[in-house]
């Protein structure tokens, strides 16, 4: 079952291709985060879904119904698509009260039903007290909630959100993000949320679709994207990586911390090895033992739940010598001490060097 589907959607502004053969399907009640660097075309995808951008090629369907088909020149206007839309700048109507904004899309209801629906929704979003005030008197977080309530009021089967939290400061953002997640889940609406923030995408998405320069790079659960990235870009996008160039010899690549299997890549090809900081496990040296993969501690900092250890590799001929390791808890070896480093291959990725950009 598909609630919202894209097939072979492409879109150009003038000569500039911003969406290139995009395909994605979102199930009922599923939250999909469309993530990528700014200018990758993700907002255009959302606008195409809403019908705000005329479809140029491909097909968009809502449930069983094809709402836009470039080949048949059909394009259902936005007011007939029944989608809820939340904008980055909220786009609240400044001439209407909170109740006026939230009730804007409610149609075909008796006055009583309308009031009941409105007050229930406002209460649920903690906005009951503000029904009769104008949006400009509200805080950023409250405005965001009004925007969400306005989009959800008509009970849409699909909700589209365009960077809905980017206008909020960090402390507030996590709280509102959490509220939004539970609200969307309770409504069982299929959700497409556009964001440039990988952390936000991982926090909210049942699935994540990663875009870059108009193309869909990878779709999957947050775990898929973090643990099994399809290329160096995907690996780097969702978390810090140590990056070191190497060459495949006998199905493996040498690193300062031991060889990594690279059986699928031809012998002699140049590659990039991406090592997540948590893949570098640092151990204090026992007295008198000789480390297999030694490194010198340059600095060690506690970042809260994790510690960041800056390592310098002294011996060997490596293109880079500085590495970051992330250890759980408080792990702060003395500066300039020599430590033993072990490599976790499940969080280390090898890609052909050409993939680097």
């Amino acid at each position: 079952m598909t609630a919202l589907g894209f097939e072979h959607v492409s879109h150009a502004f003038g000569r500039h291709l911003v969406v290139d053969d995009f395909g994605l399907s979102i199930g009922p009640g599923e939250i999909v985060c469309l993530v990528g660097p700014s200018g990758c075309g993700k907002t255009t995808v959302l606008r195409i879904a809403a019908g705000l951008e005329p479809l140029q090629s491909g097909r968009v369907s809502i449930g069983e119904r094809v709402v836009a088909d470039a080949r048949r020149h059909t394009d259902v206007p936005p007011d007939e698509r029944g989608l809820g839309l939340v904008f980055q700048d909220y786009a609240l109507f400044p001439h209407l009260t909170v109740a006026g904004n939230v009730g804007f899309g409610l149609k075909g209801l008796s006055g009583q039903e309308r009031r009941a629906r409105l007050s229930a929704l406002l209460e649920q979003l903690d906005l009951g007290r503000y029904a009769d005030v104008y949006p400009h008197t509200l805080s950023g977080g409250q405005q965001q909630r009004v925007a969400l309530a306005r989009a959800l009021a008509p009970g849409p089967g699909i909700v589209l959100l365009d960077e809905p939290f980017s206008g909020l400061d960090t402390a507030l953002r996590n709280q509102i993000r959490d509220q939004t997640l539970h609200l969307l889940k309770s409504r069982e609406a299929a959700t497409l949320l556009v964001t440039h923030d990988p952390e936000e995408a991982m926090a909210l998405g049942d699935r994540i679709a990663l875009m870059r320069e108009g193309r869909l790079i990878q779709t999957g659960t947050p775990g898929d994207l973090y643990l099994h990235p399809v290329n160096a870009f995907a690996a780097g996008f969702f978390g810090e990586v140590n990056r070191i160039a190497g060459t495949v010899r006998d199905g493996a690549v040498a690193t300062p911390f031991g060889a990594i299997a690279a059986t699928r890549l031809p012998n002699g090809s140049t590659v990039d090895v991406l090592i997540r900081p948590e893949a570098l496990q640092v151990k204090a040296m026992g007295a008198g033992t000789r480390p297999r993969h030694p490194a010198i501690v340059v600095a060690a900092r506690l970042l809260g739940e994790v510690s960041m250890v800056h390592l310098q590799v002294e011996s060997g001929d490596w293109p880079i010598r500085h590495f970051h390791s992330r250890m759980t808890g408080s792990f702060l070896p003395r500066e300039n001490s020599v430590v033993e480093v072990a490599l976790d291959p499940s969080r280390t990725f090898v890609f052909p060097a050409a993939d680097i950009k």
Partner: protein, 544 residues
């Protein structure tokens, strides 16, 4: 649906301009040969002299006053800032009638010279106001605010750094003005000059009254007096050449204005503090145009109106006022509706064809009322004849004039001339509303018309109101097109003023003229409020 609708509106409004322009390329008839041989050279010479004279006048007055209030501090500066706009309220023909009443042989000034000072022969040496020079002086006195307004903004917006640098490099106020301020403000000044000259060429009442033959009087005489419509159309087309040159100048100035902002724009320049003699000179320089262009005419009109109120403020006066109000209000409402249609059409879909059509439709502001009258009456007469012919052929009845000589034709001509004013205002208002509003309303189930009616219109209520008001006032003042197109026996305040003045009943015309001036003050108040707001936004860096 919106795009074709907007396109049709734009095409309809462009029609008169296109009709007149087309006359540039039609072969000239015999009467044209006659005109060309006899009066054409004087039309051209007078029009050119008016452009040169009025141009020089508005530049001197506009730039000097703008520089003083923008860059200097002296007693009364804050009042002059808005008071210098007041002459905007007085149409040139009203100033002309007032000063004629004041300065001619029987007027109070010469009377005082003769009786008060015993100069019996004052009439022999006193300059005749009803002359080319008189027309130039009076027009410059009421048209300089165009230059003043744009130049003042340009001086205020000039980068602090650019002037600071020139001052630290050893340039005094005068050299800074000549080497930095003036060149930077040049595009804005040129834009203001172009607008003032368009108005000067549009003038009919002054030159007609002063007996100075120009294109506008020529068109009027050829059309109504001689009944030679093709020749009048050719005159109109020729006048359009002058106008096109001014439009190009104005367009260029808009483009070039973008380059003048070189740095931090919102830092207010420390003003030169003028003391003693210099301060007095500055106050006098600013007070003179306000006094001559507004205070004296307004005062004279008020006195005369009070003197003659018993005879002139009668039932007829109120009928004319009602007529003026009727056509002005109707035009204002339609102009706002059409402007909203065009602006919304452009907002939905800004295609090249749409943009061009809208720009052509907005050309009317540049084109003299008499030219527009010709451009309206030609196609309307064509339609009338076609309808009449069709009815006679099929039903054997004559319909006569359906459109020409009706209020429909008059209001249409006003729309052609003043649509640009409402369009600019509405477009600016619409531009301040984020397109996300449209998107949000659409996603919540509103159609395009619903978005305009329920979201955009309430949000730009202020702009719509201002647009309507500006059009209303301009229609109240309009004279040449009204004279040519108005239905028989349909008098407005403007035509009444003109007719009484033509009959040398200057004092009796004062009531109607004063009413026009009073209404004309409304947009001046709007403008000065906008200026006050702009100042409030800049207060941060002002120097005590």
């Amino acid at each position: 649906m919106w795009t074709p609708l907007a396109f049709i509106v734009a095409a309809l409004i462009s029609l008169p301009v296109l009709v007149v322009t087309a006359n540039l390329f039609t072969p000239a008839g015999a009467i044209w040969q006659h005109l060309a041989a006899t009066v054409l050279s004087s039309y051209i010479a007078n029009s050119v002299w008016i452009m040169i004279g009025v141009g020089a006048g508005v530049l001197v007055i506009g730039v000097s006053t703008a520089w003083l209030v923008a860059m200097c501090e002296f007693p009364g500066r804050r009042i002059f800032e808005w008071a210098l706009l007041l002459p905007f309220a007085v149409p040139a023909y009203v100033v002309a009638y007032t000063y004629t009443g004041l300065l001619d042989v029987s007027g109070p000034v010469q009377q005082w010279l003769r009786e008060g000072l015993g100069m019996a022969n004052a009439a022999s040496w006193f300059p005749d106001i009803r002359s080319l020079v008189g027309a130039i002086v009076l027009m410059a006195l009421v048209l300089y605010p165009y230059v003043y307004m744009l130049a003042r903004t340009a001086f205020l917006e000039q980068s602090f750094a650019a002037i600071e640098v020139s001052r630290t490099l050893g340039c005094g106020p005068w050299r800074s003005f000549g080497t930095v301020s003036l060149p930077l403000a040049r595009p804005a000044i040129a834009g203001g000059l172009a607008l003032a000259l368009m108005e000067a060429l549009n003038d009919f009442g002054t030159v007609q009254f002063f007996g100075v033959d120009t294109f506008t009087t020529g068109i009027y005489r050829t059309w109504l007096g001689l009944g030679e419509r093709p020749a009048a159309a050719q005159l109109a087309a020729l006048l359009m050449l002058f106008i096109f040159a001014l439009i190009l100048m104005e367009r260029w100035s808009r483009g070039a204005r973008h380059y003048q902002h070189t740095g931090a724009r919102y830092q207010v320049l420390p003003r030169y503090h003028l003391r003693a003699t210099k301060a007095v000179v500055a106050s006098v320089v600013c007070a003179t145009p306000v006094t001559l262009g507004f205070l004296i005419p307004a005062l004279a009109l008020t006195v005369w109106t009070i003197d003659t109120a018993a005879e002139t403020i009668d039932k007829r006066f109120f009928t004319m006022a009602a007529n003026s109000f009727l056509v002005a209000a109707t035009t204002a409402v339609l102009a706002v509706a059409l402007a909203a249609t065009l602006a919304y059409g452009l907002r939905i879909r800004r295609t090249a064809a749409m943009t061009v059509a809208t720009r052509v439709a907005a050309l009317g502001y540049a084109i003299p009322g008499s030219v527009i009258a010709v451009g309206v009456l030609i196609p309307f007469a064509f339609v009338d004849n076609a309808v009449d012919g069709w009815f006679r052929a099929h039903f054997g009845v004559s319909t006569g004039l359906v459109l020409s000589g009706t209020l429909v034709a008059l209001v249409f001509a006003y729309l052609v001339r003043f649509l640009a004013i409402s369009l600019n205002t509405v477009e600016a208002g619409l531009g301040r509303i984020t397109p996300r509003m449209d998107d949000a309303a659409r996603s919540l189930g509103l159609s395009r018309s619903g978005v305009l009616g329920r979201v955009l219109a309430p949000l730009m209520r202020g702009s719509l109101l201002a647009a309507g008001l500006l059009v209303f006032v301009d229609v109240m003042k309009e004279l040449p097109a009204t004279l040519l197109i108005r239905p028989f026996n349909f008098d407005t305040l403007a035509t009444h003023t003109y007719e009484y003045a033509s009959d040398e009943q200057l004092v009796e015309a004062s009531g109607a003229a004063l009413a026009i001036v009073v209404v004309g003050v409304v947009p001046v108040i709007l403008l000065s409020r906008a200026i006050a707001r702009a100042r409030a936004g800049q207060d941060g860096g002002s120097v005590p």
